[in-house]
Symmetry: D2
Subunit: 283 residues, 4 copies
């Protein structure tokens, strides 16, 4: 069922739900899903409505025009999306296949509602897997001595493919600040630890050294500060003294896959709002 | 913060949220929490609003009168409650203390927002623990050959204490149908299995015999059919071949405590709606 | 590191560990992993040793001859395996790809230590995915009116490929008793419920109808009685009233994949002993 | 069933299991539980045996004398304990009751196999709860300007009560280095975060600020470096944007209780070995 998805955030006060739902009822809009959150600490209000597209007399542009006065009245940050307009995803990978293969299979079996425009990788090992899915594969090697040309090419490809969202599926390279800013809250990374534990390199080695009893993974929006962006989703798995670092890496892969896939799904379905470097996820 | 809690369920159609939120906005009602659910299978709509009591010009009775026409218009099953009116809870127990002690401690440390009117037990072993909390303890032994007098006494006590809700904290006796009907959706039981597995007696023995790798517990509303009422909450814990039945019983106790406490908490906060023998829990 | 894996089960008594470990020490066997379990209910003892192959002066056949008297002395059921002899796996599938794709990817990325001899499917939709991995795909349609010819062909293929283990990766057909007996404790099935709940068809529909708050999956050895064989592994995922049956199916797929992959891994590494229709899993 | 519990750790080599199990078999020792771990990184071997006391011709002192040569031969760190000698536990608390009440109830219902010698608290609010259990309560206020007298009194009480283990059940004070050293690997603390995340004060506030999706708790042995000692047990619970800091505190309490109780249980049953600031927990 095709829906419009309205996301809005504004300082909390009386009458927001009434105003918005009244607006929708006026046009006979059928709300199929409604979520609200009042954040007591910040005093902000967050909402997400899914409305059956065929119940409204609007296209998106008309909706925007009709809704704009309400947005202004409440000082809202808002957006409206159409479930029929699939987001264009650029996947970035390196050598490790588990996250990439997982996302590709979910897409292939119609579980992820998006287009996968292309895969960009700094190594050429996953080309065959990607191309079997009928998706273009771009090998853009990164020269450690001068990364600028590679990222210029990445930016060019991202622009050429008109990416709506970039997913770092264990890409293992740090994106340049300019790209982070341009795609703010639209680059999703999977970090292989339960952040904020074990920021940076080799988190499983750090975890083994500290002797933790659970290891985890975190999907988050990328910001200029490494591993410090808004967290979308996290999960953990139990480990013990029996698990060597290699076992942790193996167990961790399953958590990474799940956490990245859930994070991406939330993003694709417009379920994530960001405020004060934290997310509201209307799952 | 004192709130009114509005629960409503009705066949789904356009305009319900608008009508209700408009009603609230008309009276300057400040919605602190709003939850909605459209059930596609049944075609029903469920909602729960928490409204700051001090933002409304109403007491409960005036609210009911003002809201009644809306309820009729949409064919709603609805109720309004006041967070300041603590529900009166009667706890029923037998010999085992873990669920009872857990609930008493949560109440004692102000985690459960209710009054505990009394504890009724068919054995006299937990009296001292209960009375330390300043709560009346009634010992009502059940004669297996003739249970009627005991349950007459239970009914009398429940009435005398004006119970809003009865909690079977491992009571181990089956309530008579009459009491189940009178307190429909107001008697909460904890069953020590992951229902519908292992209905009836000795679920840990059944679990051990079947060799399951997880054991669980289920809190549910009691109906006349044994262990078949609407499920409020469930959880599980991992077991292995190393766990004897005694170990399962020990591990299971922690799950039972948690699942019963969460189920009761949802009920006390008016977060549970029942429809078609299933629950909607707005947690 | 190449290891020999010794599995043994016998009635418990004094001196078993001493006798076996002494035997190994006599030949300078380096134990890299040792697991023991005394089952108080049955009075049986279970053990599993991994011994570095290069520390022993034996090949498997010599080991068997040297160990046989000990096995007889204690009335042991025992076996010795060589980690270098990869088990030959026949995967069986139908239309749904998630379990199959998951196992294929784990094998492709060297996570599963086995050979995948072939895939047998009763529909022809997954051929391309399988063949991309370089694995033979056999389409054996099953005529509901006369299943015998199909299962004769399945038996022929299983024999031809010299299968050590058969994995039903959502095969959706019931194997004939003869094949179950021939491959006792060597056919692994994934059932899409938390057994013994929701035996048989459409478990997610049954789960939705009952209103459970967790759904699960179970990997088990196939026996002649449907969904009643020894359970190897189980897991669950939380659901709520928000999850339609379609959502349950989607969430369940991830549990099914994980539970089947873990179950198969345990089997491939000779970590599972079966006794009294229950498993001892030395994970 | 009364058992002797043998714990040993030494550099790994061939023949350890044989030597130890042979020693036991020589004296007709019945092993009821055996656990082994070879740590590939450190090259150390760890073992734990439970032996039925009535199967051995020894008391503990004779066992120690007979086993000593084996310990020397392998350079073992080893200890032997008697399950019948209950460990003496001193609990330390402050104002918050949840961990204390949980441990007291487990002890009261015979779930924790120990003596609770006394409770020491820096506030006087939990006296009645403790004394109801028939356990001495010592109020030792800590003067922030001069903590030395308080800790001198704590040390005196610990000595007087002949404590085997000290449990900081949300004590909220940092023990002096001298006491940490004297009771190395015998002081168990519960930290209300998933260490190493959120070391130090107010971890739930830190967690809320960072927007994590899971919060946790960690039981660990106390060392002189704050929150850096060997981790015994950890667990987590899911949170979301809906959970205020107060809700996190409430949800966290249940994890803290569980994680502390499990950690203490492992310690009481001699299941924990410490090596390189990490634990081997033979659960």
């Amino acid at each position: 069922m095709r829906t419009y998805r309205l996301l809005a955030a504004c300082p909390d006060r009386v009458g927001i739900v009434a105003k918005v739902s009244n607006f929708l009822a006026t046009y006979n809009g059928w709300i199929s899903e409604a979520s609200h959150h009042s954040d007591n600490q910040s005093g902000w209000f967050f909402m997400r409505y899914e409305i059956r597209a065929d119940s409204l007399p609007f296209d998106l542009e008309s909706f925007r025009q009709a809704f704009a006065p309400i947005g202004r009245e409440f000082g809202m940050q808002w957006q409206i999306g159409d479930s029929a307009q699939k987001k264009r995803v650029v996947l970035m990978a390196s050598r490790e296949s588990h996250c990439l293969a997982d996302l590709l299979h979910r897409w292939h079996s119609d579980e992820l509602d998006c287009e996968i425009s292309c895969v960009i990788a700094n190594h050429d090992v996953l080309r065959s897997m990607v191309e079997w899915h009928g998706i273009p594969f771009h090998h853009v090697p990164v020269d450690p001595a001068d990364k600028a040309p590679a990222f210029a090419e990445v930016s060019r490809l991202v622009a050429e493919h008109q990416a709506d969202v970039i997913v770092l599926a264990r890409y293992m390279q740090i994106l340049p600040p300019q790209l982070c800013r341009e795609f703010a809250h639209r680059v999703i990374n999977i970090h292989h630890s339960f952040l904020p534990s074990f920021i940076g390199a080799k988190p499983y080695h750090q975890a083994s050294l500290r002797g933790v009893k659970l290891i985890g993974a975190t999907s988050h929006y990328v910001t200029e500060e490494l591993d410090a962006g808004p967290i979308i989703e996290q999960d953990v798995v139990r480990v013990s003294h029996r698990d060597s670092i290699e076992e942790m890496v193996r167990l961790g892969r399953d958590v990474e896959k799940m956490v990245l896939a859930r994070g991406l799904r939330y993003h694709l379905e417009d379920r994530v709002l960001v405020h004060d470097n934290k997310t509201v996820v209307f799952d």
